[in-house]
């Protein structure tokens, strides 16, 4: 043992830890080993691939904005207030996190679909959500919102309310406290929550294919394109998979960076 610092860990722990690391890394290496590098660029720059990547980036960005707009107030309410049934409500709004995405897709279908709870009324006003890019954004927002809420609520609780109280006793109005004290303090947590939501939106597949459909440039995001390409051109599917892995790695790097600032 060369390590200068005492880790306090028994030696055997490293064996399952290494096995776990290999378990996660091996499939990624296997994926990279399968990439046809000579054709890689042409595979990922084909018309359908570029359309799918662009659609994925655009919809995931819009979904992230929607998550921030809806999720920040949710996290603040959950972290700073107490009301009856709060813990039940928290569990319920976090449900999309553990729900199989296809179940989310079916639920969205019966909400925003043509014969759905809201869809019927939207149809009357001339709004049709099914098969549109809006449906993709709704599906992505539905599955990623809890990630932002959980992440931000945790940060809010850790930050505590001392500064809020001080600001309030100095005469700041609630909106000013929220805007000038509470949120700036948790900005790194908000950033990492938003990046997590973005990553989840980017990878969304099940709810999208169930609810939004699949049409190039309109609803066929990168994961759907990979799923379809697998049928005819496994090389293209592998190349596009690697693109998603690279984006995911960049996202993890960003999260670590934003956490590091704290």
């Amino acid at each position: 043992m060369r390590s200068s610092q005492y880790s306090g860990l028994p030696a055997w722990v490293y064996v399952p830890a290494a096995a776990g690391a290999a378990f996660v890394l091996l499939p990624l290496l296997a994926l990279m080993a399968r990439v046809d590098w000579s054709q890689f660029i042409s595979l990922i720059t084909s018309e359908s691939s570029v359309a799918a990547l662009r659609l994925s980036l655009v919809t995931a960005s819009i979904s992230t904005v929607a998550c921030v707009v809806l999720g920040v107030p949710m996290a603040v309410v959950l972290a700073r207030t107490r009301f009856a049934g709060q813990s039940v409500l928290r569990s319920l709004v976090l449900l999309p996190m553990v729900l199989p995405p296809v179940v989310g897709g079916i639920a969205l279908l019966y909400t925003f679909g043509r014969r759905g709870l809201l869809g019927e009324h939207l149809e009357v006003v001339g709004l049709q959500i099914a098969f549109s890019t809006v449906a993709v954004v709704i599906a992505q927002t539905f599955v990623s919102l809890p990630f932002l809420v959980v992440s931000l609520e945790g940060t809010l609780r850790t930050a505590g309310r001392r500064y809020d109280i001080v600001a309030a006793t100095l005469g700041a109005k609630p909106t000013t406290v929220l805007r000038r004290v509470t949120l700036p303090l948790v900005l790194p947590g908000l950033a990492s929550g938003a990046i997590l939501a973005f990553a989840r939106a980017l990878g969304e597949f099940g709810a999208t294919i169930t609810f939004a459909g699949s049409l190039q440039g309109v609803t066929r995001t990168l994961p759907l394109e990979i799923y379809l390409q697998r049928e005819v051109d496994p090389d293209a599917a592998v190349a596009l998979s690697l693109v998603l892995v690279v984006v995911a790695v960049l996202v993890i790097g960003l999260v670590r960076g934003s956490r590091g600032q704290m």
């Binding site: 064996v15 096995a19 679909g113 043509r114 014969r115 294919i209 169930t210 459909g213 049409l215 759907l224």
Partner: protein, 254 residues
């Protein structure tokens, strides 16, 4: 690191030989046939498997139903199977090219496209050309999958260009979009339309004859029960097979 890889290798070995252990261990009559069949054959082959079991003492038939391209990929990667029934000739060709098939594949059924709409056909669709109308929300299969390739063939031969709201990667997704009311019409196989029962209204159209999808079946080279596997293939090709497949909407392959 080496220890970890050895551990993973060991796990692999354990998982690999669990499946077919019972087929050779017991008495001479105990045979388990593993049949890889296209997802569109799920109900017909399940029934044929049961009938085959009742006619052949000591034989049990196990199925793996999935998309034909997935099944070929599994067979190519060494999945143990005795019989392969594909939903198209292209995927069977992949298996033949890799010398994974024993003898020649035989065509045993054919499937054509049919229009499905909501019950009562509210948009009054009567034929293929009606699908191109602007006020129809149409869902079809993507050209990359067999039902979409067939749709494209019909488009090309009829000169009618469709503008679908969605190109799904599975025929079941097309059906689901119609049964849930999201789409006004969809193009699926006759067998899918028959399987959906009253949930949809089916409309046949003459142009469908331009894109007939033939289903080939073959005994696989890796089969340990070649004779029994051939017997199952003959059973599918025989009168019982024709009857069960015919009831589900399949037509005889020419």
């Amino acid at each position: 690191m080496a220890a970890v890889l050895a551990l993973i290798g060991g796990l692999n070995a354990c998982g690999g030989d669990g499946d077919d252990g019972d087929s050779t261990a017991a008495g001479s009559e105990e045979v388990t046939l593993t049949v890889f069949a296209a997802a569109s054959l799920t109900s017909t082959f399940t029934e044929l498997g049961e009938r085959f079991e009742s006619e052949n003492e000591g034989v049990s038939v196990e199925f793996n139903f999935a998309g034909s391209s997935d099944l070929v990929a599994q067979i190519q990667n060494g999945s143990p199977a005795d019989v392969f029934a594909s939903a198209d000739e292209k995927n069977m060709q992949k298996a033949t090219d890799d010398d994974l098939v024993e003898g020649e594949p035989t065509l045993f059924a054919a499937n054509t496209l049919q229009i499905v709409t909501a019950p009562g056909n509210p948009k009054g669709i009567e034929g293929f050309e009606d699908l191109a109308a602007e006020d129809i929300t149409l869902v079809i299969c993507a050209p990359e999958v067999p039902c979409g390739a067939a749709t494209k063939e019909v488009e090309e031969s009829s000169g009618i260009t469709l503008s679908p709201a969605s190109e799904e990667s599975a025929v079941t997704d097309v059906l689901a979009k119609v049964t849930s009311g999201e789409a006004d019409a969809g193009l699926v196989y006759v067998t899918d339309a028959v399987g959906a029962g009253d949930a949809v209204e089916s409309i046949s159209f003459p142009e469908a004859a331009d894109a007939v999808n033939d289903y080939p079946i073959a005994v696989l080279a890796g089969s340990e029960h070649g004779d029994m596997a051939q017997r199952f293939v003959d059973f599918v090709l025989g009168p019982t097979g024709r009857e069960v497949l015919g009831e589900a909407g399949f037509v005889q392959s020419e």
